[in-house]
C-alpha cells in the first residue's frame, strides 16, 4: 500500500513496529512503532503517558514527511 500511494508522488511515512518488514516491502520513510498491538502509544504506561508517546511519534511523522530522503530511512529519534 505504501508504494501504491507513494508512486503518485505523495510522501508516505510508514509507522510500523516490524521495521524489517517495512524495509523489505520498500517504504522510504519509516518510524518504528511501539508494539504490534499498540503501534502508536503504550497503554501499559497509562492513558496519559500513552497519548504523550503518540503525540511525539505523530510529530516525528509530520517532520519525516517534510524531510528529503535519498533512500529508505528509519527515523528512530525525534531529533533529526
Amino acid at each position: 500500500m505504501v508504494k501504491g500511494i507513494e508512486k503518485y508522488g505523495i510522501p508516505v511515512v510508514h509507522m510500523a513496529t516490524v521495521v524489517p518488514i517495512s524495509l523489505t516491502i520498500g517504504a522510504n520513510r519509516i518510524i518504528p512503532g511501539v508494539g504490534i498491538p499498540y503501534p502508536l502509544g503504550d497503554p501499559t504506561q497509562g492513558e496519559a503517558d500513552s497519548k504523550k508517546i503518540r503525540m511525539r511519534m505523530v510529530k516525528r511523522a509530520l517532520k519525516a514527511l517534510q524531510t528529503p530522503v535519498d533512500g529508505q530511512t528509519v527515523f528512530e529519534k525525534d531529533d533529526f
Binding site: M1, V2, K3, G4, I5, E6, K7, Y8, G9, I10, P11, V12, V13, H14, M15, A16, T17, V18, I21, S22, T24, I25, G26, A27, N28, R29, G33, I36, P37, Y38, P39, L40, G41, P43, E47, S50, K51, R54, M55, M57, V58, K59, A61, L62, L65, Q66, T67, P68, V69, D70, G71, T73
Partner: protein, 349 residues
C-alpha cells in the same frame, strides 16, 4: 512404431530458414524433425517420434497473434500429438513469447500437455511460467545440450502420465503452485538445519521463498506543512463498529474508507478492529493507538499542519496478498492525488 507422438514448434532461425530478414515467415508445417528436433528425438529414444515441426517467423507471430495461433492450432490438431513442445527459446524475447503463447493455446484448446524452455529473463518466461511448464535454459543456444535432456525427461513424464515433481527437482521455472506433501523431517528440524547452515555460511534452501519486492522512488517532502492536507491509512483493521463492509480479518480482498469529519478522537463506541493477526484488546479499548485521530486533531488545531483529510482508509494487513495490497494502494493513491492530499501517515500493526 513409436508409441508417443510429439509436435515441435520452432522459429525461423532455429528452423534454419533465416534470421531477422525471415522473421515475417508465415506458419508452415513440416513432417518429421527440424533443427534442434534432432537432438530432442535422440534424447527421447525409440518410443517417441517427432511427427511434425511447426515453423513460424517471430515477427509474423508477434504481429498476427490471434491469426498465427489459430493457424498453428489447426496444424497441431491434425497430428493428435501426445505432447506439444516449443523451443527452447533461450533469451530470444519474441521467440519466448511465441513459445509461451502457443503452448498455452494448445493446452487450453486441445487439452494436450505442453512444454517449452527459456532463459529466466526472457519476457516470455515471466508472462507464461504460471500457465505452462518452462524448463530453465541458459541465455544462448550454447546451452542446448544441457536443456534437451531436461526437456526429454519431462516430455516422457507427460506422455506416460508420471507425476511431475517440483520446479527445483525437475529444472523448470517456478510457477507459484503449492503442493502439499509429507516431509521426512518436521518443520522445527528443517528450520534448525537451515539456521545452522546459514550460520556456517553454507547454502540452504528455504521452504518458502519470499516474493521479490519492487521499489518506488521516495516522494519529495512536503514544503509547506502549514497548508498541507494529511491523510491516514492503516493496515490495522480499524473499521466502524459492526464492520459494515465486511472487511476480512485476514487475507483482505478490499479496503474501506470511513469518515472522521468533525470527530476529535477515535471513539471505541464508534470504531473497532477486525484484524486477525494481533491481540486486539488494547486497540478495541482505544482505536487511537492505530488511527491517531486524537493527537492529529490537536496538532491541526494548533496549526502544526493545514488540514486532516476527512476520512481514513483501512484494511487488514495480515495474510493479505502483496498483489491485493498493491491494488489497494493504487486505488487509495489515485483518490488522494485527486483530492490534493500532500502527505500520508500509514500505520501498520
Amino acid at each position: 512404431m513409436a508409441k508417443y507422438k510429439i509436435v515441435h514448434y520452432l522459429n525461423q532461425f532455429f528452423a534454419g530458414i533465416g534470421g531477422e530478414e525471415m522473421a515475417d515467415y508465415q506458419p508452415e508445417v513440416r513432417e518429421g524433425v527440424v533443427g534442434p528436433g534432432a537432438a530432442l528425438k535422440a534424447a527421447l529414444g525409440d518410443d517417441y517420434d517427432i511427427v511434425a515441426t511447426v515453423i513460424c517467423g517471430d515477427n509474423y507471430f508477434g504481429e498476427n497473434l490471434d491469426k498465427a495461433t489459430d493457424t498453428i492450432i489447426e496444424m497441431v490438431k491434425k497430428y493428435e500429438p501426445d505432447v506439444f513442445v516449443a523451443g527452447p527459446a533461450f533469451n530470444a524475447g519474441r521467440y519466448g513469447v511465441a513459445c509461451g503463447t502457443i503452448c498455452k493455446a494448445v493446452e487450453d484448446r486441445l487439452g494436450i500437455p505442453v512444454l517449452t524452455a527459456a532463459y529466466e529473463e526472457n519476457p516470455g518466461t515471466d508472462m507464461f511460467k504460471k500457465d505452462v511448464i518452462i524448463v530453465k535454459a541458459g541465455n544462448s543456444s550454447a546451452d542446448m545440450k544441457n536443456v534437451i535432456p531436461v526437456m526429454a525427461k519431462l516430455i516422457k513424464k507427460m506422455a506416460t502420465g508420471e507425476e511431475i515433481l517440483g520446479p527445483a527437482i525437475e529444472g523448470y521455472h517456478e510457477r507459484g503452485i503449492r503442493v502439499n506433501y509429507f516431509a521426512e523431517k518436521r518443520g522445527s528440524e528443517r528450520g534448525l538445519e537451515m539456521l545452522i547452515k546459514k550460520m556456517k555460511g553454507e547454502p540452504f534452501e528455504t521452504d518458502l521463498p519470499m516474493p521479490k519486492f519492487d521499489r518506488v522512488e521516495p516522494a519529495a517532502p512536503i514544503k509547506d506543512i502549514k497548508h498541507a492536507t494529511i491523510a491516514v491509512v492503516t493496515s490495522g483493521g480499524i473499521v466502524p463498529q459492526g464492520n459494515p463492509d465486511h472487511i476480512e480479518s485476514s487475507n483482505a480482498t478490499k479496503f474501506g474508507e470511513y469518515s472522521i469529519a468533525g470527530m476529535d478522537h477515535m471513539d471505541p463506541k464508534d470504531f473497532m478492529t477486525v484484524h486477525g493477526g494481533y491481540d486486539r484488546q488494547f486497540v478495541l479499548a482505544n482505536p487511537n493507538l492505530v488511527v491517531p485521530l486524537d493527537v492529529l486533531r490537536e496538532l491541526e488545531k494548533a496549526g502544526e499542519f493545514g488540514k486532516l483529510y476527512d476520512s481514513f482508509f483501512t484494511t487488514t494487513g495480515t495474510g493479505t496478498a502483496t498483489g491485493s495490497a498493491a491494488k489497494f494502494g493504487d486505488a487509495i493513491g489515485k483518490k488522494l492525488v485527486e483530492d490534493h492530499v500532500d502527505g500520508v501517515i500509514l500505520v501498520s500493526t
